[in-house]
Each structure stands twice: as structure tokens, then as C-alpha cells.
């Protein structure tokens, strides 16, 4: 089935594959240079060089355990929490290495937000408090500001109409799909420049999944998105660029259309056509 899907993409593509070379110069928002993450003696990802372009959706694909999530979590210093995790190499955000001594990880995480596999509403907070948590908990108390941010973020996350009458209900009382959009709204409320999404739809039903995919499309104008997905159709649907990871290595990265129709690596083609993984 996957094979036919790839073939379909191939036959449907009207645009020649060399389209990327003719596009206007794209701005690099993030870039990793020889990024290696180790957990003790186990290497999560090794020497990854990847550019993440501004206002594009970059999908990270690959089989389970290939290091794509490990890589993603290095982009906003989420590994800081795990003492056994050692990150070497560079992660540049607008040209500045976020692992430099003088960089505060809290500031980095404000600029590089993250949405996780499972929806994570703060259990004791209402929908409203969940959305504005990133502002309220750092001292912003102005009700008018919070109201405005809340509505804007919920609209961006395509959730406002569903919850506008339930802003004071518990965040955890929403459905799974709504909770995930709530998590996205909460991430957007602090106005990040980059949004990392770690398999954001893998615990959701198809309808919620498609809502989130639409959302990703609409968010592109506002933020740069990096999404980890184990669903190749999803990568093909939502991303501009795709990076294929395999056993801790970045095998290939490029224009999504190219990766899915004309990959230069055999392993990429095998994975995409469903021969392994």
C-alpha cells in the first residue's frame, strides 16, 4: 500500500524534481552541526548536520529507535533534564549555538516550543489557565492581555469555537484531540519562533489527526515547524522538507517531494516503499 502511495506521488507530481534549486533563497532558522547525543554509552544520534528553514515544515521520519525524537529534543535543550544525556556538537538558532555557556535554556525554550506525543494539559488548570500558563506563571497578570492571548492562541490552534463556552472547565475534561490542540495553543501562546512536534497525532483518532495536520499548514506563516512522525503519509502531507533517520544517523534530507519520489539513498527508498521499518 505504501508502495502504491509512493508511486502515486511520483505520477501525480507535475513539478519537476529540481524545483528546489529554482526557489528563492530560503532563510535558515536552525541548524545542527555534528550533533551527537549519547545516553551513557548508548549513542542516540550521531553527527547530524541538518538545516531547518524558516517558515517551513521539516519532517523527521524513520523507524522506531532511529533517533528522530532524540534529535528533536536536542533542539530546545530538553536533554538538560536527563543527566545521563550528553550533547555534543552545535545547535544554532539564528546562528547562535544554544548550548553555549551564556545561553539560558529557559529563554531558548520560550523561542523553541514543543508539543509532545501525548496531550499534556496541566491537570489542575482550566482550559484558560492552561493556554496562558506560559505567561501567567512568569508574572503577567493583566486580565485583558491574558484574555487576548488566550483567544488568539486558541484560534490559531483551531480550538476556540469548541471551547469558548468552557474556558473555565478543566483542561483535562476535553477530548484527546482537543487536549492536543490545547497543548498546541499553550505552546503558541508564548509566541515561539520554532515549534517542535514529537509525533503529535500518534495518540489521536483520524479526524483529530487531520485537524492537527490542517493546523500545521496554517501555522507555517507564523512559526517554523519541525515534526517527528512515524507516519510517512503524514510527512508527505504536511512537510516541505523531510529528513530520514536510521539507527542514529541522518541518512538523507531534502525536499519532501524529492525524498518521497526520488530519494538518492537506497535505504530511504526501502523505508519509504515499506520494505523495512
Amino acid at each position: 500500500m505504501l508502495q502504491t502511495f509512493a508511486e502515486q506521488l511520483k505520477t501525480n507530481s507535475q513539478i519537476p524534481n529540481n524545483v528546489t534549486t529554482t526557489k528563492i533563497e530560503k532563510k535558515i532558522r536552525m541548524e545542527t552541526k555534528d550533533l551527537t547525543v549519547r545516553y551513557g554509552s548508548v549513542t542516540g544520534v550521531k553527527d547530524v548536520r541538518l538545516k531547518i528553514y524558516d517558515h517551513q515544515v521539516t519532517a523527521l521520519i524513520g523507524p522506531s529507535g532511529c533517533g528522530k525524537s532524540t534529535y528533536l529534543r536536542a533542539l530546545n535543550r530538553m536533554h538538560d533534564l536527563t543527566r545521563s544525556a550528553v550533547v555534543t556538537g552545535e545547535v544554532l538558532l539564528d546562528g547562535k549555538n544554544i548550548y553555549d555557556q551564556d545561553v539560558n535554556p529557559v529563554v531558548i525554550r520560550r523561542r523553541v516550543g514543543m508539543v509532545f506525543q501525548k496531550p499534556t494539559p496541566f491537570p489542575t488548570m482550566s482550559v484558560f489557565d492552561n493556554v496562558v500558563a506560559g505567561l501567567k506563571l512568569v508574572g503577567i497578570r493583566d486580565k485583558a492581555v491574558l484574555n487576548e492571548v488566550c483567544e488568539k492562541a486558541l484560534r490559531q490552534a483551531a480550538l476556540f469555537d469548541e471551547v469558548k463556552d468552557r474556558l473555565n472547565a478543566a483542561g483535562a475534561s476535553l477530548s484527546g484531540g482537543q487536549q492536543q490542540r490545547l497543548s498546541i495553543a499553550r505552546a503558541l501562546a508564548v509566541d515561539p519562533e520554532v515549534l517542535l512536534m514529537d509525533e503529535p497525532t500518534s495518540s489521536l483518532d483520524p479526524q483529530s489527526t487531520s485537524r492537527i495536520e490542517e493546523l500545521i499548514h496554517s501555522l507555517k506563516d507564523k512559526v517554523t515547524i519541525v515534526i517527528v512522525t512515524h507516519n510517512m503519509q503524514q510527512a508527505a502531507r504536511v512537510s516541505d522538507r523531510t529528513a530520514f533517520f536510521y539507527v542514529g544517523n541522518l541518512v538523507e534530507a531534502g525536499d519532501t517531494k524529492t525524498i518521497f519520489t526520488n530519494p538518492s539513498e537506497k535505504r530511504t527508498e526501502d523505508y519509504i516503499t515499506g520494505r523495512f521499518g
Binding site: 530546545n76 530538553m78 533534564l81 543527566r83 529557559v106 529563554v107 525554550r109 520560550r110 523561542r111 516550543g113 514543543m114 508539543v115 509532545f116 501525548k118 499534556t120 496541566f122 491537570p123 489542575t124 488548570m125 482550566s126 500558563a133 506560559g134 506563571l137 512568569v138 472547565a169 478543566a170 483535562a172 475534561s173 497543548s183 499553550r186 505552546a187 501562546a189 508564548v190
Partner: protein
């Protein structure tokens, strides 16, 4: 097959009966104690019991007004001091154990905490004696409070740790991912989520300390009278319910024996009331 099913159903019944039985065995002593205490002590409860101080045995023997007002106030003061001292430090240690598992001091803290928990309460009293009573030159409410705080501390630290650990790690990551500092994530997302368990843990520690007499013997010491100044409750010898209960019970006067039972009712009621208040205060605002 049907033979098997029958057997499994019977086994299921047996297990159920055993579970109910063990529940009854757990509850029975408690009910017997409450029943016994109430039956024996009720007659000694009177208005004067809550308004008069104990004084000398002759008061009770001659039927003059006598009571335990100084003991009840003393218990509130000593236990209150213990809570004020132990809760912040105990919860702090619990946060350290749960939230900073990689910290250098953590293994040491864990061992020390478990050791402290294992030390007999009477030794904690002795420690408070050396620490506070000796330098101050007098038995005092604060010394009793410190001794009880040592009883509460390791329990609070441990229950706090397990309460916080029960909150999924993903909540912390979600907090960090929106650019909140670590301490803020713990304080505003993890701790509220764990608050029922946190309060339960503190209550267990409190109930344990509130019933201790041994650490108070040479710290708050006991007193038959109200102090002249209210500060005497903190800086002078103070009476407490567990210790008073003990001294009334071993006294040779039957009038004091029944007052001892009444003291037991008050102590039980005190602990139960604290549990009820804490439960009401931590009710989930989203539950109807």
C-alpha cells in the same frame, strides 16, 4: 470446561471473603479503641474540662473544678510549631528527592532521611533536649515542637517524594517546553497536581507526631497549669495530650483515670478533625 468455570467462581468467592475479612480485621481494633475510649471518657467531659486547668490531684478528688484547657492549648501550640518547622523543610527535601534525582547530594539525603525515620522517637526528644533545652536552661514548647518536627520530617520527605513521583514526567516537560523555569514547573504544575497526596502525607506525619509522648518527656516536659504569660507556651514547660494521658493513666487517682480517657477522646477528635479539615480544603475544584 464447566467444571473449571465452577472452580474458578468458587475461588473468586473465597478470595472476596478473605479480602472482606482482612478489611474487618484492620478496622476492628480501631472501632474497639474508639468505642472503649468514648465509653470510658465521656463521663469526664464537661464544660470545665475545656475551661479549667488541672492543678493538684486534690482538685479532682474533692470535686473542685479541674480540666485540661492548658493541655489542649499546649498540644495545639507544640503540634503547630512542629508543623510549621517540619512541613516546609520536609516538602523541600521531598522535592529534592523527586525532582532533582541526579543531584550530588541526593543519595546522601535519601540515606539520612531513612536513618532519621528509623531513629526511635525518644532519641529525637533527647536530641532536642541537647539542642534546645540545655542551651535555654528550661523545658519549653519550642523544644517539644522541634522534637516532634524530627518525627514528622522524614515521613513528610518520603511521602512528598512519592506524591511528586506519581505525577507523569511529561507534565514537567510540558512546563519546561513553554519556557518556565524548573522551580516554577514544580511549584505551579507538579505540586498542585499532587496536592491531595501531599496533604495526605503531611497528615500521616502529623497524626504520627501528634500521638507521640516519648519525645516530649524531656522537651516540653508537661505542666499542670496554664503559664502566666502566653509566651510561656513556647518558652516554658508545656502540657500535651499524649503525655498528659500517660501521666493521668499511671496516677493513683480514679478521678484522674477517667480524665485520662477524656484526654484520649480529645486527642482522637483532634486528629480526626484535622483529617476532615484537610480533606475539605483540598477538594478538587473541578469535581462536582
Amino acid at each position: 470446561m464447566s467444571y473449571n468455570l465452577k472452580r474458578r467462581q468458587i475461588r473468586d468467592r473465597i478470595i472476596e471473603v478473605l479480602l472482606v475479612l482482612s478489611t474487618v480485621i484492620v478496622l476492628l481494633p480501631l472501632l474497639i479503641i474508639i468505642f472503649h475510649v468514648v465509653i470510658n471518657g465521656f463521663s469526664a467531659l464537661s464544660w470545665e474540662f475545656f475551661t479549667e486547668e488541672l492543678g493538684s490531684p486534690s482538685r479532682a478528688i474533692q470535686g473542685r473544678p479541674t480540666g485540661l484547657v492548658h493541655t489542649i492549648i499546649g498540644t495545639l501550640v507544640v503540634d503547630g510549631l512542629a508543623v510549621v518547622l517540619a512541613v516546609p523543610i520536609g516538602i523541600g527535601a521531598g522535592i529534592m528527592l523527586s525532582e532533582y534525582p541526579d543531584h550530588r547530594l541526593n543519595p546522601l539525603l535519601r540515606v539520612m532521611n531513612d536513618t532519621l525515620n528509623g531513629i526511635p522517637a525518644v532519641l529525637k526528644g533527647l536530641f532536642a533536649f541537647v539542642l534546645i533545652v540545655k542551651p535555654m536552661g528550661t523545658f519549653s514548647g519550642i523544644a517539644g515542637g522541634v522534637a516532634l518536627a524530627f518525627v514528622m520530617l522524614p515521613i513528610i520527605a518520603r511521602t512528598t517524594e512519592s506524591a511528586l513521583m506519581s505525577i507523569p514526567w511529561s507534565i514537567r516537560e510540558a512546563g519546561l517546553a513553554i519556557g518556565l523555569p524548573r522551580w516554577r514547573v514544580v511549584l505551579s504544575t507538579v505540586m498542585p497536581a499532587a496536592r491531595v497526596a501531599l496533604v495526605t502525607g503531611t497528615l500521616i506525619a502529623f497524626a504520627r507526631a501528634a500521638g507521640e509522648a516519648a519525645p516530649l518527656l524531656f522537651t516540653s516536659f508537661g505542666n499542670n497549669y496554664l503559664p502566666i504569660e502566653w509566651t510561656g507556651m513556647i518558652f516554658g514547660p508545656v502540657d500535651t495530650l499524649p503525655q498528659r494521658l500517660y501521666s493521668l493513666a499511671i496516677s493513683p487517682y480514679s478521678e484522674w483515670h477517667s480524665m485520662g480517657w477524656a484526654a484520649a477522646i480529645i486527642l482522637l477528635g483532634f486528629v480526626i478533625l484535622t483529617f476532615i479539615i484537610a480533606r475539605v480544603a483540598t477538594r478538587d475544584k473541578f469535581q462536582n
